[in-house]
Symmetry: C2
């Protein structure tokens, strides 16, 4: 019930291609490798400290993830994020999350969600505690997502959802959320949680629909007003 050796501190027995994949993926997600950045094979292979063969395997996986695109003759580059692509991603996200939440509300074991509910009830206080509080709030969201994935129990659906979340992580970076939105989002999550616990798929689906609508509006607004700042 554990993935690789993730539970332990052991990262030594990891394949080189796996290390390269995780490192590059992380660097793309946290913005170290910015959209449009060129990836030269030899350059990246030397930087990571491996040869070109496992690096190519890592890049191939990144292409499959949609984080990297191959340029015709001139290597690869990190995919960029347009405002259009954000709206498009949310169209996919909505379809997947509404379905996932609906199924979770039907199939869930209520216990983990009841536990999570406690956390979201206390979210407003958490969000008053500065960056650490916000960080712990995001931790709650991760737990909620994991609980939903377990409740859904559908590898295809969960896999598609994880792919969407990968892209969302990049978007969050360029749209710092404001405190008001975080409080509102916490309330929305609480409603979703209640619907899941109550076993009400219809309510859960509608609440998710609303939540994602608000989320997208917030992200687009944040990018719009901060575009000059983000442009750096």
């Amino acid at each position: 019930m554990y993935t690789e050796t993730a539970m332990l501190g052991l990262d030594v027995p990891l394949r080189a291609s796996e290390r390269a994949y995780r490192q590059l993926r992380g660097e793309i997600l946290n913005g170290f490798l910015a959209p449009g950045a060129a990836l030269l094979e030899v350059e990246q292979a030397e930087r990571i400290g491996i040869s070109r063969t496992p690096l190519r395997e890592a890049v191939a996986r990144l292409i499959a993830d949609g984080l990297v695109v191959g340029r015709r003759g001139r290597g690869f580059e990190v995919t960029d994020i347009s405002v259009d692509s954000i709206s498009e991603l949310y169209e996919l996200r909505q379809a997947l999350e509404v379905q996932a939440i609906r199924l979770a509300a039907i199939r869930r074991d209520p216990t983990p969600f009841a536990l999570l509910r406690e956390g979201f009830v206390n979210a407003p206080q958490l969000l008053e505690q500065g960056d650490v509080g916000v960080h712990r709030y995001y931790g709650l969201i991760d737990e909620l997502e994991d609980a939903i994935d377990v409740a859904v129990g559908n590898p295809f659906l969960v896999g598609a959802l994880r792919a969407v979340r990968t892209h969302l992580a990049r978007i969050r970076r360029l749209a710092r959320r404001n405190p008001l939105r975080l409080h509102a989002a916490a309330a929305e999550h609480l409603l979703i949680l209640d619907a899941i616990i109550a076993g009400d798929p219809s309510l859960a689906a509608h609440a998710t629909h609303i939540h994602l609508h608000q989320s997208l509006q917030s992200v687009l607004a944040a990018i719009d007003e901060g575009s000059a700042t983000v442009a750096n």
Copy 2:
């Protein structure tokens, strides 16, 4: 507006890894490589006539597609299809197609759909013409899917949809549809088409929901009754 050299008869200037990917993918989809079949690198590389390096790249893509899984220490094997996984795939399919159809109904240029409608009106006669007719009917469905993809205009959503269709192709192989179902399906497609042309996203979504429900029931029934035959 053409992909690679697909339009021409030229397959010479294709990369070895690309050739290997297409060949293996095709062989998995058409059943030549059955679920559970082991893929040995040297063996497959020799068979296709390339070295191990591009073959590994091809296998990596197949793993990303979910058509192949890596066994801990002993190579790779073709993923198998359980009845459970079919229902799970349909849960994902429903979420994606309902969303896609809804958006298509909103954004469509009516012209190509009106053209397709002619084809589906004549579908019943087509289905009386034996295998060639059935084959042409499937061609119509492909055209419909392409038209929807264009109308949706969302790379994320369309990409997810294409991934689902890949797995569906394998499922169709082990569930020969009966003529009655094909006639009913054609009628359902006609309703969806009318809703798209009318620009009625709600009707289109509901019609798609029903269509997929019936489709899944038909597939599960076909597998149930034919299990002894399929087992061969």
